[in-house]
């Protein structure tokens, strides 16, 4: 059942929120052993919360648009009094004294938070294998990765543990796992959803966004959490866009460009795109054209430099953001003779290899004498990408590409080769660098029978037309993706 109809049934009094939550907790109890989507299932709190929603309904109040709908949170969003680990040992024992803004908004909408999902440590990774608490397994094939870093949130939705979840996307961490798990995943315009209470990885790139099993549910969750927040200075001063209201408007007359450079379809650009993924992309483009869109090839040349720029900017910001995990105020502390040694011992024991690698990369990139060559140059590339997109959007309303170069890959295959792992994000990174919205929509399967995702990209605040195209693609692919509950 969709989140929309679940909420509808609670609001109308047809079903109790408790029954919905119990049903999902049962699904988790059944399947979580094979998937490991969660770091923590907050069953008792969820049932109490469901009862409060039912009380509101019983008293004739408005329980909210997400009434009784379970939502799972990536474990980097602060929940008051509930452990928030970021998939890391360094936050051992920490219970935030406050709720993230998205958590407050979910609460206000009547949603029921059902647990905290597994992730690559501090959102650094593309397979959820970098979690200190062990990997998450792809519900479509448990020998495969679910993608990452929001792999737990994607898997929880794909496995039917929850109709909705939130992830965070810094370079593709919502869209890539959505593609690999066969669900819808949205990276909003930078500033559309508040980052207050999201443990930062790379502040200028991070965005919280929804996972759902269909486009309408993703729109529902998007609308619930988006909108200006005075606690986040980078929050856009506008209210949430109306998405549900425009989903059925189709794509008639919209101009859609397929980005040559990140789809392996042009004379220049990146390689390594699987033929089955390319084939699904071509079919998606045809589907949009069949629905009345004008589809052509598009060129956004500097997207090919995105990965390089990203792997300077994101680690640079991370090296600073992660400095506070020093053993002084919260989380893990490994005692030593003096403060400096305690800092070092704590960080050595608390951070995993990938996090350490990126902290070192970022520290180096910001160092005196190297700043201009690395960080400075990367910011110039970022500006180039913004300008290239702006040029492309003079001719197109939307752009299209694969979400990831391949379908889900086997667990362990890329974990020892960081560069190979990083290549997973070539298609998704440019939108983060530009601050633009993009979403992954399931569109058929590859030769291995595993889901393929198509990425729809839009200019800043272009979510309404992006969702319209997503709805058309979903219909063309044969309706709602994922496992029906």
């Amino acid at each position: 059942m969709s989140a929309l109809s679940l909420a509808g049934s609670v609001r109308s009094g047809e079903r109790s929120a408790r029954s919905i939550v119990e049903e999902h907790l049962a699904a988790i109890a059944d399947g979580e052993g094979q998937i490991h989507a969660f770091n923590l299932v907050t069953a008792d709190a969820a049932l109490e919360r469901a009862d409060r929603v039912d009380d509101v309904v019983a008293q004739g109040g408005d329980p909210g648009l997400l009434a009784g709908v379970p939502v799972a949170l990536k474990d980097n969003m602060c929940t008051r009094g509930v452990p928030t680990t970021c998939g890391s040992l360094i936050l051992d024992g920490w219970r935030p004294p406050y709720d993230a803004t998205v958590v407050e908004r979910l609460d206000a909408a009547g949603a029921v938070i059902i647990g905290k999902t597994n992730m690559d440590e501090f959102a650094m990774g593309s397979s959820t294998e970098n979690s200190a608490f062990g990997p998450t397994f792809n519900p479509r094939d448990t020998t495969r990765v679910p993608g990452g870093s929001s792999g737990g949130s994607a898997a929880a939705v794909a496995a039917g543990f929850t109709p909705l979840s939130l992830g965070s996307d810094t370079g593709g961490s919502i869209r890539q796992p959505a593609a690999l798990c066969g669900v819808v995943g949205v990276k909003p315009t930078y500033g559309a959803v508040s980052r207050y209470g999201l443990v930062a990885f790379a502040s200028s790139l991070d965005q919280i966004g929804p996972f759902a099993r269909n486009v309408a549910d993703a729109a529902l969750l998007f609308e619930a959490v988006a909108g200006h927040d005075p606690l986040d200075s980078t929050s856009i001063p506008v209210s949430a866009p109306d998405l549900l209201g425009v989903l059925d408007r189709g794509v008639e007359g919209l101009r859609v460009g397929v980005i040559e450079e990140i789809s392996g379809s042009g004379p220049t650009g990146l390689e390594g795109f699987a033929p089955d993924v390319q084939a699904r992309l071509a079919e998606a483009a045809e589907a949009l054209a069949a629905a009345g869109a004008v589809v052509e090839k598009a060129s956004v040349p500097s997207t090919v430099f995105g990965l390089s720029a990203y792997y300077v900017i994101a680690p640079a910001e991370a090296s600073s953001n992660l400095a506070r995990f020093d053993g002084v105020r919260f989380g893990l502390r490994v005692d030593a003779e003096n403060t400096v040694d305690m800092n070092a011992a704590t960080r050595t024991a608390g951070f995993g290899d990938e996090v350490k690698r990126r902290i070192m990369l970022g520290t180096y990139a910001l160092s005196a004498g190297y700043y201009d060559a690395y960080y400075g140059k990367s910011q110039k590339v970022r500006t180039l990408i913004v300008e290239d997109f702006a040029r492309a959007y003079q001719s197109f309303d939307l752009l299209l590409s694969p979400t990831a170069p391949t379908t889900a890959f086997p667990i362990g295959e890329k974990v020892d080769d960081p560069m190979l792992m990083y290549l997973n994000d070539v298609c998704t990174i440019p939108s983060n660098l530009a601050g633009h919205p993009a979403m992954s929509v399931p569109f058929g399967v590859g030769d291995d029978g595993l889901p393929v995702g198509v990425q729809v990209l839009a200019p800043a605040n272009g979510e309404p037309s992006m969702f319209r195209a997503a709805a058309v693609l979903e219909a063309a692919a044969g309706g709602s993706a994922g496992v029906a509950l």
């Binding site: 980097n76 969003m77 602060c78 928030t84 970021c86 936050l91 920490w94 935030p96 004294p97 406050y98 993230a100 980052r195 207050y196 209470g197 999201l198 443990v199 930062a200 790379a202 502040s203 200028s204 005075p230 606690l231 986040d232 200075s233 980078t234 640079a316 910001e317 090296s319 600073s320 400095a323 506070r324 995990f325 020093d326 002084v328 105020r329 919260f330 003096n338 403060t339 400096v340 800092n343 520290t363 910001l366 160092s367 005196a368 700043y371 960080y375």
Partner: protein, 481 residues
């Protein structure tokens, strides 16, 4: 008190540039709603942002920006679009292990400050940044490396600071003190800070170098930290410049260092060398957006600014016909308004300023400009002696009132000249040696002895005599012998 300047002693010039941090007098912190308050119980003025908790984000305090702009305008700086940057280094009292500061785009660019003597000292920039918490190291003599444990109070973490970076235009410890004192007066006058060095709400780091007089190139500088009072500033400059001259004249060279002023032993000690200096890895703060104050807002702030100490000195000096430097004390005491008003009512400017400087150290109290003007007129009209005027003035400050009535309650009336001559004659007879010394002595001796005789007359008349008249009698009698 004056600090000796090296240049006067042996042909060396001291070059000083100051970095002054002042806490801005906002109700809340620079990036959150936690209270900005001195002296609370440890860790009570805190919230997720001031503790740097994961997920917390800074939101800029508009009042702090306004106060920073006031500082910029008061220091004749260009107020400009600015950006925040992260200054990265690990320290337990810095919650995020980076400080949000401003780097290459400060809110206030170049400007200047005028010292009371009229010299302009250049300002490089005045930027916004957040304060750190405070560590207490327990055991091991209170030093971080030997302590058995440390406690951190984050009440101060995130308090807004304005860092005012001065150009190396100061040439002595006295200069430095005058600069800081003037800066403090300005900050207090515009309501930007309470300027209390003893509470740490104003802190001074001092860059010192020396060079032979006549040399254009700057010498290698050392930055001296931990200066907690104006007195320490003068002492630290004297010690540090002397140390540098001694190094150079003994054939060594000055190493660029950060040094720590030790109040107890009166010396500076090496904190870290240039090689050990931190690499702060500055980069633009991605959690904040650029600050672009509109021209209208800046104009509004400018229009609401009070007169600055320098402007007040000029105004008083012009009215009183004196040099601005001579008006400094009156302005510092906040008595320039009183002085101007009483001058407007016809009081003699010179007498007004004498009283302001000598007899109103604790402020004007209940004294009104009307009463002050009337008192001074009585004095200059010969109805009150200077001593009597001082006594009446003290009463007026304490409890107000009309000077003539107050004088009457003291029974003050001027003695006539013949009565005084009688007193003086008697004194000469009692002290023939002193009289002889007065008559034949050099200028210095005469001054001393006239003081003695005036004092004796005052004693005998319980202060009712007019000292000037006594002097005239003494002079006349001496000329007649």
């Amino acid at each position: 008190m004056t600090s000796e300047t090296v240049s006067e002693m042996d042909g060396w010039e001291v070059v000083i540039g100051l970095e002054v941090h002042a806490e801005l007098a906002t109700a809340t912190k620079l990036f959150s709603g936690a209270r900005n308050e001195f002296g609370g119980e440890p860790n009570t003025n805190i919230d997720p942002v001031s503790l740097g908790l994961p997920g917390s984000l800074p939101v800029l305090n508009e009042k702090a920006v306004e106060l920073a702009i006031r500082v910029g305008l008061a220091l004749n700086c260009s107020v400009q679009e600015s950006e925040f940057a992260r200054k990265n280094y690990f320290y337990p009292d810095m919650p995020k292990d980076f400080q949000i500061s401003q780097f290459d785009q400060p809110i206030n660019g170049e400007g200047w400050l005028e010292l009371p003597d009229g010299r302009r000292i250049g300002i490089e920039r005045a930027h916004l940044e957040e304060d750190t918490g405070k560590s207490t190291h327990v055991g091991g003599g209170g030093r971080i490396h030997e302590a058995s444990y440390s406690l951190v109070d984050y009440n101060r973490a995130g308090v807004p600071l304005i860092e005012i970076v001065g150009k190396p235009d100061l040439r002595s410890g006295d200069d430095a003190r005058a600069y800081v004192s003037e800066l403090r007066s300005i900050l207090v006058a515009i309501g930007a800070s309470d300027g209390k060095m003893e509470e740490g709400s104003m802190r001074v780091d001092c860059n010192v170098s020396v060079r032979p007089v006549g040399e254009d190139e700057l010498g290698t500088r050392c930055e001296v930290k931990n200066i907690n009072s104006l007195r320490s500033l003068g002492r630290a400059v004297t010690y540090e410049s002397r140390r540098q001259v001694d190094l150079i004249t003994s054939g060594q060279k000055v190493d660029q260092q950060t040094r720590h002023w030790n109040e107890e032993d009166g010396r500076t000690h090496t904190l870290r060398s240039k090689e050990e200096a931190f690499d702060y890895r500055y980069f633009p703060e991605p959690d904040l957006v650029p600050v672009a104050p509109s021209a209208e807002w800046i104009d509004e702030i400018r229009a609401a600014m009070p007169l600055l100490p320098g402007e007040r000195r000029h105004r008083l000096a012009e009215e009183a016909g004196i040099q601005p430097a001579a008006a400094a004390l009156a302005v510092e005491r906040g008595l320039d308004g009183l002085a101007l008003a009483s001058m407007d009512l016809g009081a003699d400017p010179a007498r007004v300023l004498v009283h302001v400087e000598n007899n109103l150290a604790d402020g004007q109290g209940a004294l009104t400009a009307d009463a002050f003007a009337a008192l001074v007129s009585m004095e200059t009209g010969g109805d009150l002696t200077a001593t009597q005027a001082k006594t009446v003035l003290a009463d007026l400050v304490d409890s107000g009132g009309d000077p003539a009535a107050v004088a009457a309650t003291h029974g003050f009336e001027t003695m006539d000249t013949s009565e005084l001559e009688g007193f003086v004659d008697g004194l000469i007879a009692e002290h023939p040696d002193d009289w002889e010394a007065f008559v034949v002595g050099d200028e210095d001796e005469r001054r001393k002895k006239s003081g003695f005789f005036v004092g004796q007359v005052m004693k005998a008349t319980r202060g009712q005599a007019d000292g000037r008249v006594v002097n005239e009698i003494l002079e006349r009698l001496a000329a007649g012998t």
